[in-house]
Every structure is written in C-alpha cells, then in structure tokens.
Point group: none
Chain length 246, copies 2
DNA sequence: CTTGACTCTCACGTTACGTTATCGTTTATC
DNA sequence: GATAAACGATAACGTAACGTGAGAGTCAAG
C-alpha cells in the first residue's frame, strides 16, 4: 500500500493530480483509511501507468477512463498499440529535426525551401488523430483498406455516398422518439449497415465498435450531437441491439 | 501575402489560434486591410515556425514572446538549440518504448520489474525541474557575474580559453577507459577545476551541480555526447568522486 | 445579384490541473 | 507526553490556450 506522496514520487505526477483523478473517478484509491487518507496498491500502479501512456499520446482523461473501464480492454494489446504510436511520434520528431537542418541551410542561403517545408512535421498531425483512434479500435490494416476503397470512388460517387449517409442519420434522429429498439430504428440501421459497404466489409465486431466509437470519441460524438444532443448514446444503444439480433 | 486560412493550412494550426496570437501580440499580421482582414508575409511565416518549435518543446506563449522579441535572439542558434532538445525528446520516447517492452515481459512473467521501472520515462521530467531550481538557487546572479567576467576578456584570450577547454574534454574522453575514479581522470578534473576560474569561483557545491547538469540537461549532454556517447554519465560519476576527495 | 466561402469581433465554455487557505493526522524528537 | 515538522484532507478560486457558436460584414464566381 502506498500513500499519495509515494505514488506521486514514483510516477512523477503531483498529489493534486491524484486528487483530481480520484475526483473524476479515473483512478480511485484502493482503500480509504478511517482518517480519510488515500491508499493505493500495485494494481493501481499499473492503471496509473496506462493513464500516463494515454495522456502522453494526447487523449482526454474522459476517453482514457472509457478505454480503461471497457471490459474488453487488454493490457498487452494496449501496450503494443502505445508502442506503435510512440514510434510514430519519434518519426515525427525526426521530421522536425530535418526541418531544422533544412531551415538552417536555407537561412545560410545554401538551399531553397518551400513554404510547406517550413512546417514539415507540424502540419502532418491533423488528420492523423482521427486515424489514430480508429486504428486503435479496429486495426490499422482495415483502416488502410477502407481509405483505399474510398479513394477509388469518383468525386461524384463520393458526394452521392455522403448524401446517402446524411439522409440515414437524419432519419435516425426522426426515429429517436420510438426508442433505440423500435422496428423503425432497426430498419434504418439495416440501411446504415448496407451503406457501410461503401467503406469496408462491416463485420459484427466492427459494427459494435462503431457504436461505441460514435459515443465515446469526442470527434464522432460532436458530429452526431450537432444533429441531436442525445444522438450518440441513442446510436450506441441502437447499434448494440442491432448487433444482438444478427 | 497570405490570408489566415492559407497560413492555417500551411502550418497546421487553427484560424482561432492565429487570432489569439494576434490578440496577445505574439504574432501580429504584417498588414491589416481596410476590410479588417489579416495579411501575413514570409517573415511572419518564419516567426510562426519558431513559435511552433517552442510550443512543441512545452514553453508558454508568454515566454516564447519574450524570447522572440529579445534583440539578442538569433535564429540559427535557436534552431540548433531546438535540435538538441528534440533529440532529448526522442531519447525520452525511446525510454518509454523500453518501458513498454519491459512491462509486457513483466506481465507475461518473463521478467521482474521494479516500481520505479514501471514509470521509466515518465518521471524524468521532474529531474529537469530540480536542475532548474538549482539553477535558480545558485543562479542568476552568478550567471550574470560569469557573463561579465567572460566579456572582460579580449577576443584572443577568449579563443585561448576555449581551446584549453576543448583540450580538457578531449583528454577526458581519452581517459574514459580507465574509469571515472582513475588517477588520470581525476588529474584532468583538477585542470578542469582550475579552468573554470576563468568563469567564476568554483565552489564544491557548484562543481557537483555542474556534474549533474552535464548529464541531466539535454542541452549540455548533447554537446558532450558529440565527443563520446557515454561522456555525460562518465562526467557525472567522475566529478562526483572528485568532489568527494576535496 | 445572389450564393457560398471567407473574414471579423465579441464572449462565454473547457480541460487539467496549480495554487493558496484552512484544517485534521502522524511521526520524530526532545 | 508535548510539540513541531511533515503529511494528509477538502474547498474553492485561478489559469493557459484555445474551442465554439453568434451575428455580421466581405469577396469571387457564376
């Protein structure tokens, strides 16, 4: 059993951080003494390690809690995923170093440099975030295939697919009053299921993963909330039921 | 001349960020049109690059403004400094990767693991702060005096002192096979001790602090690593022993 | 001349803590 | 067994660096 200070020293975090993580139920102490003191055991130590990894990778604490509390969470798989993301980070930093070297040469007049190159290593991260989360949930290869498939469409086809998607989600919002398990909702989900084939072969696990993603990932959730504030949890429930009946 | 959107796309930042940087006078647009639009030129592009480097390294925007607005600021020197710090970052991430590998083996029961090792790579940032504190304690006034003393030398004298310093560090590299406590190493350290008098009165505490600084500060360490990859830890051990025998 | 893409300025919201302030508890020392 | 030092708790306000609309003006193309 460790006290707050011992944990703080071991992990290099502040005591306030431990208080805060307790407050938001991200890392609760193993037991609390009669004096109100927090005490942590080794399991808590490993959970904290995971938290720090995900934090290092830029995830919000709420997401981290969602991931760690997911019964399907597997420590080793998660660690291997961290490895890949951190490797990516290292590559990015190395890009920054070449940007530095190139900038120095450019200033000395030894080499020309484009405007894009000035920001090499900075502007690459944008679209990655989106991909990173998806990659962690259902695997890099699948994402790659999906991207390839999507890119194979013409611009016209892309627009049509997008429109179809929008229509489906609007219909889902209209179906919300009936509840997530209503026949109407489930019928629309069948269309949604079919629609996904434009991107990849939607396997049951994937469908379930998408349902969670739509509710847990802030980026997805934000999009759906724009249509209706309660759409994300509604979607997760409805998709879960849909998968159960397959 | 570029508009906000063009800059945002080039650098991978949001328009809001550009607005904010203007608001806090960190990056003002080159000109403002009659319509109130912000327009930036290439110089602004380079300033933004610097801002992003410093931000990547974790500096606060106020500090960044202070650095960039300092008349002594030199672009190339700054870029070289970024290089060293980013290299340190890469080392830290690589430590994280070994922590991951070790944790995986530990979970599989293939290897024991200490509590400290669980957080290898995370708690290192603290050590930096210790050094910073030390720097502030011993710090600013002595640094100022040292700078004054240094500036009182002629260019010729400066060159001679620099050469002497380089010779000492090269001799230390040559003495590395004998180990940090060898008579040879310790004799060279006596020269090093004497050499420091060109800069300030080397008190025992300061010597010890320097030893730690040489190994812990990524900027110093990077310089010494250029001479030999294991020189920084060797220096810390050798200087520690030298101080013990004073 | 309208439509859509851009732009502006408020102004409030957010995340993950830092920072006192005030108070009870434990431990080391005299 | 008293007392100070170190440690723990809660509570509440502060902050940095933007995100996120709202409302309104501007520009380029058809």
């Amino acid at each position: 059993m460790y006290t707050v200070k011992q944990i703080a020293n071991l992990a290099g975090v502040s005591i306030r951080t431990l208080h805060y993580y307790d407050e938001i139920t991200l890392l609760a102490p193993t037991t609390i003494g009669e004096n109100g003191y927090r005490y942590y055991d080794d399991a808590a130590l490993f959970r904290l390690q995971q938290i720090l990894f995900y934090r290092e990778l830029g995830l919000e604490l709420r997401q981290i809690r969602g991931i760690l509390d997911n019964p399907e969470f597997e420590l080793i798989v998660a660690l291997q995923s961290h490895r890949r993301v951190i490797s990516g980070r290292i590559n990015r930093l190395q890009t920054l170093i070449t940007t530095i070297d190139r900038t120095i040469k450019h200033i000395k007049g030894e080499e020309p440099m484009s405007n894009k190159q000035i920001f090499g290593g900075f502007n690459e991260e944008q679209e990655k975030r989106y991909t990173e989360e998806a990659a962690q949930l259902y695997g890099e290869e699948r994402v790659r295939k999906s991207v390839n498939l999507w890119n194979s469409y013409t611009a016209e086809k892309k627009a049509q697919i997008k429109a179809e998607g929008s229509a489906i989600y609007l219909d889902l919002v209209a179906a919300m009053p009936g509840g997530p398990t209503s026949a109407e909702t489930q019928a629309i989900l069948a269309r949604w299921h079919q629609h996904l084939r434009y991107f990849y072969e939607p396997h049951v696990e994937i469908l379930r993963g998408l349902g969670q993603l739509y509710n847990q990932s802030p980026e997805f959730a934000a999009n759906f909330e724009a249509l209706h504030p309660d759409l994300p949890p509604f979607l997760e429930a409805a998709i879960s039921h849909y998968c159960d009946t397959l």
